[in-house]
């Protein structure tokens, strides 16, 4: 939380972003010409967190930093970059917090083990229930 605020305040402090008289980034609110590219960008933007807002994706936010990130994402997609590479670049820059798709790390592995564990548990529960009742 604190780190996010810190990050956000750092971002606001960056001169290029803080200057509201600057023209908005060209692709902040304009779609890419190629629908396939725009679809890729939209899917990526929906899974990136706006660091300044509370619980909104950058695709769903009026904040300036969200607009700037949308512009970045669209420009990079337009230049032919892979969405996952862009995500990795953003995580590198802002930390894991920016991505709504958690990576498998030493910290987050339980998130991914849970569905498997629950599947296993459900299987065992149901099996026990039915073998008992069939008897």
């Amino acid at each position: 939380m604190m780190r996010a605020l810190l990050l956000a305040s750092l971002l606001i402090a960056t001169p290029a972003l803080a200057d509201s008289t600057m023209p908005p980034a060209p692709y902040a609110n304009v779609q890419l010409e190629d629908p396939a590219q725009e679809a890729k960008a939209a899917a990526l933007m929906a899974s990136l967190r706006c660091l300044q807002c509370q619980g909104q994706a950058i695709s769903d936010s009026d904040a300036q930093i969200a607009g700037d990130l949308r512009n970045q994402v669209r420009l990079r997609i337009k230049a032919g970059e892979d969405p996952e590479a862009i995500r990795a670049w953003l995580i590198d820059r802002y930390g894991d917090y920016v991505s709504y798709a958690p990576r498998v790390t030493s910290l987050t592995w339980p998130l991914f083990a849970a569905p498997l564990a629950l599947l296993g548990l459900a299987f065992v529960l149901l099996r026990r229930r039915f073998t008992r009742s069939a008897a």
Binding site: Q31, G55, D60, L121, L126
Partner: protein, 648 residues
Amino acid sequence: MIATMGLAALWLAAALAGLQLIGGFLSLRLPGNPLEPVVRPAAIVQAALVAIAFICLIAVFWRTDLSVALVVENSHSAKPLLYKVAGAWGNHEGSMLLWVTVMALAGGCVALLERRLPERTILATLAAQAFVSLGFYAFLLIASNPFARLDPAPPEGNGLNPLLQDPGLAFHPPTLYIGYVGLSVAFSFAVGALLTREVSPAFARAMRPWVLGAWIFLTLGITAGSYWAYYELGWGGWWFWDPVENASLMPWLAATALLHSVSVLASRNALRAWTVMLGVVAFAMSMIGTFLVRSGVLTSVHAFAVDPQRGTFILALLAINIGAALTIFALRAGTVSEGERFAVVSRESALVFNNVMLTATLGIVLLGTLYPLLAEALGSQVSVGPPYFNPATAVFVLPMLVVMGIGPLLRWRRDNFARIRPVLILPLIVLAGVAAWLAISGLHLLALLGIALATGLLMIALVPLKGRRLRTVTLPLWGMVVAHFGIGVALLGVACDSAFSTEKLVAARVGETVAIGPWLVRLGRIEPVAGPNWTALEATLAASYSGGAPHELKPQSRSFWTPVQQTNESAILTRWNGQLYTVLGEEADDGRWQLRLWWKPFVTLIWLGGVLVALGGALALLGRVASDWRRAIASGKIAYRRQRQGRG
């Protein structure tokens, strides 16, 4: 004066809850103790007192009594009356008072109406209810007094968050709270039945209306909340897996499981321990939901209360209530047998399967919601959002939907698939046909699965009515059919929205026309307008559907001044086949205006489905209550006749 009266009523109600608790629990050890006859009246009078306290709070908001701190913090004399009144529960203290009010009214209803269970079970249930209430009274009176005063009173209040100044707010939180609190009654019944070893079909029948009622309100609350987020936030999204949304989804998942298992217990005398366990889990989810929303641990658009003391208090209440219930469960579980047995292919099995799937889904949502908080406690930050929740829940939800379709066709206790195969053929053919047609059109896999599955569900949901005369179909059966059909409708809406939605973000000049899907949208003019506590820029758009007559839409960009905040008021045009969603953004420096446009085919089915599901619940509830009523009247008549014969 009014505020003092409210506070006094609240203290008196808390004292009565204490009396109710002591009397109820004493009856377990000392049957026939002198406090026993007081328990029911205590619950009823307590309900009246808390209702008075709540009316007092509404009154101070109505009059904008600025000597009350809560009014100063959340209201303003220039606010429209509806939002003044709704402001009474649109904040932490008021919403906790609303919680206690609904809980006391529910307790009063149980005390007044419930006569089917053995008296000691009811007394234990009311004691459990008083135990939970006392925690909340303590919370209100110690840590969040809604009637706290300010001296001297300031000349003006601070106003209410503009995002919350919407008719949706007036009804959304109370709807969810009624749901949460209904589950507290189910919880109290479960504890009461455990304490007196009365986990029986009669117990399930007594608990069922409360579970059904809570579930109906939760369903409506989630549906309304989703639609509110959709039109108010202005980006066309209807579900964000936001922690606050999850906080309402988790009790719903638990209540859905509980609702089905309680039906099995009521009609088949099976799944006893499981039903009691779900009763505890469902209320635990209500409390976790309240904790998430009320404690301010979340950073989200919904979390507007920030005070760690409160979070700790709710967490302590959660630990005490659920800990106590689980301890009782552990002590008594050995004495609660599972009940009647059933074969692998039977309706009970289908219900058990889906119960397990619902619970697993609940586990995923709970983990994904709490994980960022856990990670933060460990000093690092992660975000868990749609890319995690969508696939992880689909693993359990998709099989569940298939079983939901087939389950109602199976017989209780023992059946075989050969018997129901003929009725499955038609839905399967349609499903395969739709899937093949969609596969050719090159849709995304999950959307394809969704549409095909929804089509199959819509057909199969109606099969239980086959071969029956519609006039003789019972209300609970209608309820099930309508609710399951509603799930299919909602799924179709979700899948269509994700498959066919189109988006257009443009900077347009006045007079310019923009094409989106089958629509042509012309930006007519932009003018300033003023409301009671805001000013706005309003665009006039003329939208025509495939060359038809133009419809007018007026999206606004609003500026509120108490407190200062900017919001987008979307303008939405609804056709039978979808919605055109328009938002006015900022002015670009070259005099063009940002417009955000979406064409969302069949998106309305999402909320229509939600309403159908709730309607199904309402039909079932009506049927159950009516038959209980008839039974009560009939047994009353028999008793009366016996009495007369005895005399004659």
